[in-house]
């Protein structure tokens, strides 16, 4: 499958800080790719580099087959970009903005525009500066979807929005999903889980993993082991065991590379007194909480970053 976005060793350094560090990423055509990670992980920086808003320090990226550093002008006729940080032409009315943007896009679909205006209940005559944050995001969505872009890039689009607005935006997005590729960064794991096909996890500039959502769900399990006797945690545990903890006769951990037989064997080797093992599927939110907490338990040194990457990859 063709990659709509493809990066190699994509990096950005601000002073002594690596905001994005050697990211290798591939977003297949037609995917809804969710880029997740804690605050300050480098998601926005990565997206801004992809959109040629800021320049990478090292590495390269191809977006829709174009080198991201040459992504200007006409190339944006096929890209829709919405960001929580983006400034809109505040002095314009919603209708004025849509009229204005229409002139830039040969593929602008006026029927879709009207549909989006109705769907989002946009007040065409009102100036953008007089709109609420949610309404502004809806206006930004409408102006970025109406020309049926081949790639939609969304940077934290749902941040700070009420659930109703979020649902409306996701609905609008899902309707276009079959004919486009969506790259979205968000904290809203629950919403993303419902419609994302791929997911990548970025932490302190490192892309810890990037894979299909179904594969991710398959390989993460919350493992509960009932022991015959209380036992201390061994010092050496597999890297794929995240957040291991014991309480009385119960051992719990998150397995980031779950395979029923192999996991049972690993447990039996380290806890011979294990009597019962249960494997519970995890929500995306639980998976990322586990990864994030595991990451915080490490220091931020490059060596431990590598360990964390190995643990979840």
């Amino acid at each position: 499958m063709n990659s709509i976005i493809h990066t190699e060793n994509f990096s950005k350094r601000f002073g002594h800080t690596d905001a994005v560090d050697g990211v290798d990423l591939a977003v297949p055509e037609g995917a809804i790719y969710a880029l997740v990670g804690p605050n300050g992980a480098g998601k926005t920086t990565l997206i801004k580099m992809l959109m040629n808003i800021i320049r990478p320090t090292a590495g390269s990226a191809q977006v829709l087959g174009v080198d991201s550093s040459k992504l200007t002008g006409k190339a944006f006729e096929r890209i829709g970009y919405v960001s929580e940080n983006q400034e809109l032409p505040e002095g314009m009315t919603v209708g004025g903005m849509l009229d204005y943007f229409r002139g830039f896009y040969p593929t602008w679909d006026r029927v879709l525009e009207s549909q989006l205006v109705r769907q989002f209940d946009l007040p065409l005559a009102r100036k953008l500066k007089h709109l609420s944050r949610g309404m502004k995001m809806k206006a930004a969505f409408a102006s970025s979807l109406a020309y049926r872009p081949s790639l939609i890039v969304l940077d934290e689009p749902f941040s700070g929005l009420d659930p109703l607005v979020r649902d409306e935006l996701i609905e609008g997005l899902i309707e276009l999903a079959p004919e486009t590729t969506i790259f979205i960064s968000s904290h809203d794991l629950a919403e993303i889980e419902s419609f994302s096909s791929h997911v990548g996890y970025l932490e302190e500039g490192w892309l810890l993993f990037s894979e299909e959502m179904s594969a991710l769900s398959e390989r993460f399990r919350e493992v509960t082991v009932t022991l015959a006797n209380p036992a201390p945690l061994p010092t050496e545990l597999p890297a794929s065991w995240l957040q291991p903890q014991t309480a009385d006769c119960v051992l719990r951990f998150v397995h980031s590379d779950y395979d029923e037989k192999a996991t049972a064997r690993q447990v039996a080797e380290r806890f011979p007194s294990a009597r019962d093992i249960s494997y519970d599927p995890m929500s995306l939110r639980s998976i990322f909480l586990a990864i994030a907490k595991a990451g915080r338990n490490h220091s931020s040194s490059a060596q431990n970053q590598t360990s964390a990457k190995e643990a979840v990859a």
Binding site: M51, I53, K74, A75, I79, Q86, P89, G91
Partner: protein, 550 residues
């Protein structure tokens, strides 16, 4: 082109209030300027020789116009800031960065906007004003283009460049304020410095042709590079460094370094004495075989004596003001000189020496072909005077001169009405003066010569009533325009000598009259070079100072 127009039309729709403010400010300025330039239209019945209402009116209109002249750039800057910042090339949050904008189209659209709502209105307003004050704009096209270059270099493009490296009106205003303060600080730092170029160019006569225009083009090119750089690369810090760092570096290289070098040169080579090499470079002595502009002789006779008076100078303390009469002869018709500076050397029999160069303080500084007498006026420190007064000295007096040649003569018959004066501008009698308007610059240096009538004539029909003295207006620059938004300048040519004698009735003191049917001749001069003329007085004795009355 489609995208350029698309952005342009959007900006018109969005910024029409700012456009209106800018146009209204410009219109008000031109309206005020019209009244300043044509005060006689407001006071048609009281424009006589002794009525000074027009003068007060002209002054108040001039001041109001000057204030409004400051408002127009502010309105322009507001317009520039709003239109550039609508799609600011600074920052990473602007909506246009991820839309199908071509930076070239964006920049072209912004420039088109400025042409449409800043330059075209300016040209239209300037043309309308010139027509309204009886000056022909078509005859002033070079001046208009020159003026536009100055306006672009001083008021527009630097502000556009600043707008492209700032992201808001506030940051832009603070930047302009900072630059103004910086320029003020630099000017203050160098105000006492002896600037090399300042010495070599002792007054405004000497600005070489094209210097201002070259400077304007340099600024335009430099700002243009910064603007294109910022739009193409969107690297605000790089553009800021180029925009603000380059002028500072150039100022240091072109002002500070030459000043320091020149100060060092004076200290090492001249030890406080006049720098003869620099003087001879700027005012070359008459070459062997060539004719000096005039011959100089000691003008001592029964009416003209060397005079000395006590004086004081803030920097050097007590001084003696010395006037040595000079006699001039042999000056060719149609020529003139401007007496710029004087260089004086004293060498006494006992070896005492004193020399100095100083600006001419004798008025008028202009010496015409029919002039025969002049004085060498200079200040000598009292201590030097005390050393030199007791014995004869060998004195050399050197006048440093700008040579002039008469070019155009224009005769205006009287009575003069408000009308265009060919090769000059438009003039109207105003009291005892000619009140003249010229397009885009003060007139070329022009000397007036009234044709006096010996017999009295009817004062009511002749606007000019009395004997004048030598008067001139204008400057020697040959550039077709000076910087300014108002495209006209005014100048007054006096036709009257205000000599009043207490023991005589006023009417009898004026011997000559400018009557109806006579004329006034305007003669324009241009600079042809610089030179120096010297006089040696081998056995000169300084007179004693008058006793101080107690």
């Amino acid at each position: 082109m489609k995208q350029i127009l698309h952005i342009f039309i959007k900006d018109i729709r969005r910024f029409w209030p700012e456009i209106l403010i800018s146009l209204a400010t410009l219109a008000i300025l031109m309206y005020s300027a019209h009244h300043w330039l044509m005060p006689h239209r407001l006071l048609p019945d009281s424009f006589g020789p002794w009525n000074h209402d027009w003068e007060n009116l002209e002054n108040s209109n001039r001041q109001r116009t000057a204030m409004l002249s400051a408002l127009v750039p502010i309105a322009w800057w507001l317009l520039i800031a709003r239109v550039i910042h609508a799609e600011s090339p600074v920052g990473d949050r602007q909506f246009w960065l991820t839309r199908p904008y071509s930076w070239k189209s964006l920049l072209a659209a912004k420039l088109l906007f400025l042409v449409a709502f800043l330059y075209l209105p300016l040209v239209a307003a300037q043309s309308a004003l010139l027509i309204s004050v009886k000056l022909n704009p078509l005859a002033s096209i070079p001046g208009m283009l020159f003026n536009l270059a100055f306006v672009t270099a001083i008021l527009v493009l630097p502000v556009v460049a600043i707008a492209t490296v700032t992201s808001s009106l506030v940051s832009m205003a603070l930047t302009i304020l900072g630059i103004a303060l910086g320029i003020g600080a630099l000017a203050s730092a160098f105000s006492d410095a002896r600037i090399l170029t300042g010495f070599l160019s002792p007054n405004s006569l000497s600005m070489p042709v094209g210097d201002h225009l070259n400077f304007a083009f340099l600024v335009i090119a430099f700002c243009g590079i910064v603007i294109v750089l910022q739009y193409a690369l969107r690297r605000a810090w790089l553009s800021r460094v180029v925009l603000f760092g380059t002028p500072v570096a150039l100022a240091i290289l072109s002002v500070a370094v030459p000043n320091l070098l020149y100060a060092a040169h004076l200290w090492v080579r001249s030890n406080g004495n006049p720098d003869m090499a620099a003087i001879n470079h700027t005012y070359p002595p008459t070459a062997a075989g060539a004719t000096a502009p005039f011959q100089l002789a000691y003008g001592l006779d029964e009416h003209h004596q060397t005079q000395v008076h006590r004086g004081a100078n803030i920097q050097t303390g007590p001084t003696v003001q010395i006037d040595i009469p000079l006699a001039l002869s042999g000056m060719a018709e149609g020529t003139a000189v401007n007496y710029d500076q004087i260089l004086v050397k004293f060498e006494a029999a006992d070896g005492s020496r004193w020399s100095a160069t100083m600006p001419n303080m004798v008025y008028p500084s202009l010496i015409l072909a029919n002039s025969h007498e002049r004085s060498a006026h200079f200040d000598m420190p009292l201590a030097e005077y005390d050393k030199l007064k007791s014995m004869p000295s060998a004195v050399t007096i050197t006048l440093l001169l700008t040579e002039l040649k008469g070019t155009k003569n224009t005769r205006i018959p009287t009575p003069i009405d408000d009308a265009e004066v060919p090769n000059f501008g438009a003039c109207v009698p105003a009291g005892a003066s000619l009140y003249c308007r010229t397009a885009f610059r003060p007139p070329q240096f022009t000397v007036t010569t009234p044709e006096w009538a010996e017999a009295p004539c009817n004062v009511r029909t002749a606007r000019f009533v009395q004997r004048g003295w030598l008067d001139w207006v204008g400057n020697f620059s040959v550039e077709p325009a000076e910087f300014g938004i108002v495209p006209a300048h005014t100048s007054r040519i006096s036709m009257l000598q205000y000599d009043h004698y207490k023991d005589q009735p006023e009417d009898t003191v004026w011997k000559d009259r400018l009557c109806s049917g006579k004329s006034v001749t305007l003669t324009q001069y241009r600079v042809v070079g610089r030179t120096q003329v010297s006089l040696n007085l081998p056995n000169f004795q300084l007179p004693a100072l008058p006793e101080v009355k107690k």
